[in-house]
């Protein structure tokens, strides 16, 4: 059975492509050396003290931005803890702390939340 021109073209093309796939050009030692020198130069530039300082500064800003978030999260967790750990069915009794009506609200907050708020005051 005779093949059509298109089929012959596809056959020829596929054989050519297959040959090309196994015929990738190699890297010369000189070219490899240039590529490695480029990498070394860029890496050295990016890891200079100035570049590292920029990175730390960015991290510090992100950490500072997280402080109010962590304080709010701690306060929320404290509220949830109170809700689940009140021994009596009378919620008011749970908040009364015995006979005293005066209490420090910070007693509900873990240390991390307080430090977060104090940082906020310093920053602000």
């Amino acid at each position: 059975m005779m093949m059509t021109n298109d089929a012959k073209d596809d056959l020829a093309l596929e054989a050519l492509f297959e040959g090309a796939r196994s015929d990738a050009p190699g890297l010369s030692p000189d070219f490899m050396a240039r590529l490695e020198a480029d990498a070394d130069a860029v890496i050295a530039k990016q890891t200079t003290p100035a570049a590292v300082k920029t990175t730390i500064s960015l991290r510090a800003r992100i950490a500072a931005a997280m402080v109010p978030v962590s304080g709010l999260a701690a306060a929320t967790l404290a509220g949830v803890w109170i809700g689940f750990h009140v021994p009596s069915s009378d919620f008011a009794d749970g908040l009364a702390f015995g006979d005293s009506a005066d209490f420090d609200v910070s007693a509900f907050l873990p240390a991390v939340a307080l430090s977060g708020f104090s940082d906020l005051e310093v920053d602000g």
Partner: protein, 198 residues
């Protein structure tokens, strides 16, 4: 199974993990990436540009851009190799558009020696020259798409990402490119040793 820690097994670490190591100042990770990426990038650039020196230049520029982007690399957004091919394709496009179209398929595809007497020797070199010569006659976008699809064996969706076009446009470019290649090579088929009715 791939190892995530490039320091433990750099040869099998994912490209993205190696790039993070590069961002942290690890030059050995950069060397592994060079060995992994550069041959494929150079292969594509050489076929598209038909000029080894220019091909090396665009590969070099592509990798420099990769090292520079390493500290800001966002994991999971793109494959490192896809990103590199995208940069490379654009650099090749710039090079090609700066040229005048001077390619002559007959001048390139015709082997210099007498085909009748060197049929056995003709195979690899002549076929490679014929393919490269025919590729050089294609419009730039078709050429890049055909090489990515049929020589680099990239998927159509990945080529779409590399070339910043839709998958249907890729299919169209590849199909038209193959037809044009076939037309360019049809007259050479016998010389290339593919003329049997198989």
């Amino acid at each position: 199974m791939q190892h995530a820690n490039p320091e433990a097994a750099p040869d099998v670490a994912p490209d993205a993990a190696l790039l993070v190591a590069v961002a942290n100042g690890d030059a050995s990770a950069a060397r592994v990436l060079i060995e992994r990426l550069a041959p494929r990038l150079l292969s594509h650039a050489t076929r598209v540009l038909s000029d080894r020196t220019e091909a090396e230049d665009v590969v070099q520029e592509t990798l420099v851009r990769l090292w520079k982007v390493a500290p800001e690399w966002r994991q999971g957004e793109a494959k490192v190799s896809t990103w590199c091919f995208r940069v490379l394709v654009n650099l090749c496009t710039d090079k090609l558009r700066a040229r005048k179209p001077t390619v002559d398929i007959d001048a390139i595809a015709e082997p210099a020696a007498d085909l009748q007497s060197v049929v056995e020797q003709m195979t690899d070199t002549a076929r490679r020259d014929a393919l490269n010569g025919a590729l050089a006659t294609l419009p730039e976008r078709q050429r890049q798409a055909v090489v990515l699809r049929h020589i680099e064996e990239r998927s159509n969706p990945e080529i779409a990402e590399i070339m910043d076009i839709g998958v249907e446009a890729v299919e169209s470019l590849v199909a038209r490119g193959k037809r044009a290649l076939g037309a360019a090579l049809r007259g050479k088929r016998a010389e290339l040793g593919y003329d049997d009715d198989q």
